[in-house]
Assembly symmetry: C2
Homo-oligomer: 253 residues x 2
């Protein structure tokens, strides 16, 4: 993703430094000076100076091959964010229990713009390969946690999402009417299921997590191999874990 193309060219010095950091994402975790300059649209000399300041501050680190990556200091700062300090810290023990009990991968995600942002994952013993790395953003309409966030989200979010339903596998639900019915059922029943809509061979199950204002703060999901037939049997366990996290967050729902 070229930041210079998707965001206005940075004007202030601060916004330029932040634009340098913003060129890093899951698909670009290690970048050269010239890649960073191209992505920000800033001159090489300016980019070089900003990078030097960020390296001195340990916000960026330079590898032996000359590529830059996000430094430890940013990671430490990130661990202070509410998502890490509150949600993740509260959810992790419940996620461990759910993974240990079911043997499956368990993850938690929050709404981030029009995507599901994955906060953390616990790998189960039966573990199928999953795409939900912490920090990854995945589409709302094709994932269990995404459908939950969409179902309980604002009307405008739902309207926007229904206008653009890219097909990711042959089984992705791309018909707005069918997805609308699914979203209504999710709210009615309190859980979402998907079947190979994001990744062939994987099915998922997800429930909402409520905060102290009884708003949906996150979605808790479990991913299993589609060959495991008894997905429905896992629903009570996932609901129980979701309720446990909600209660710890102060929900009385």
């Amino acid at each position: 993703m070229l930041v210079g193309m998707t965001e206005p060219r940075p004007r202030s010095v601060t916004s330029k430094a932040l634009a340098v950091l913003g060129t890093f994402d899951a698909a670009h975790s290690r970048r050269t000076l010239s890649e960073i300059a191209a992505a920000t649209g800033l001159p090489l000399s300016t980019t070089h100076r900003l990078i030097a300041e960020l390296v001195a501050w340990q916000g960026l680190t330079r590898g032996a091959d000359g590529r830059y990556e996000i430094g430890r200091r940013i990671w430490v700062l990130g661990s202070l964010s509410a998502v890490s300090r509150e949600l993740r810290a509260v959810a992790l023990p419940f996620m461990q229990d759910l993974s240990a009990t079911t043997g499956e991968n368990v993850h938690i995600a929050v709404l981030d713009g029009d995507h599901a942002l994955y906060i953390d994952r616990i790998s189960g013993r039966r573990a199928v390969p999953v795409v939900s790395k912490p920090g990854a953003r995945l589409p709302l309409h094709a994932t269990g946690v995404g459908k939950v966030l969409l179902a309980y989200g604002a009307d405008e979010l739902r309207d926007r999402a229904l206008q653009r339903l890219p097909r990711l596998t042959p089984l992705t639900v791309v018909d707005p009417k069918r997805l609308t019915r699914q979203l209504d059922e999710i709210v009615a029943h309190g859980f979402a299921t998907t079947h190979e809509e994001m990744t062939p061979g994987s099915s998922s199950l997800a429930v909402p997590v409520f905060d102290r204002d009884d708003r949906v703060a996150a979605a808790l999901g479990l991913v299993t191999a589609s060959t495991r037939r008894e997905l429905a049997r896992l629903i009570p366990a996932v609901r129980l874990a979701g309720r446990g996290i909600s209660r710890m967050l102060g929900s009385t729902r």
Copy 2:
């Protein structure tokens, strides 16, 4: 910690913006505008403008009570750092297994200046309360993981650490000669143990984690209630997990 007192007053615009972020730490995860201004030594108006740019970029978030905290965007960036992307991702499954097998709290830490920086923790079912939150920095001389990092660290690090051994509990080892003997034994035997040196009632056990250059990249630790007598019985399991992580990192040691 007042940054204005411990770091030179920021000069460039970039360093000023970074100084604003740098006022946040584990003890100050939510701060007011005036606290941030005082901590950076910057005028209120400058601080206000920098904060506005950071909020617009989602690097800071403003709570309902007017306090600022680290935003989700910094957390997402931090998840791209090597510590999170490589070490944490590789270590977590081994840590889950070790915690599930022993029922104890398991954590992993890296050397960060003269402290142990805790990267992650898995809570065991027998879980004693521990101080090792992700992002927390703890002294090297009083923790199991810290002693491992110190024992395998550079001579200068050891010299510096031995000059300052604050007593944290009645059992903290504050005699440089005694600690030197312990550090030599840790290298000789490949593991460290502590007994109520950081937290009364808690004992710990830690082993080194080696990277592909066979340097110590991290320390893996287990914390248990001091009343659990058989700490020595857990040594093989912790060593096995440490070796597993080392092997996944490319160590041939």
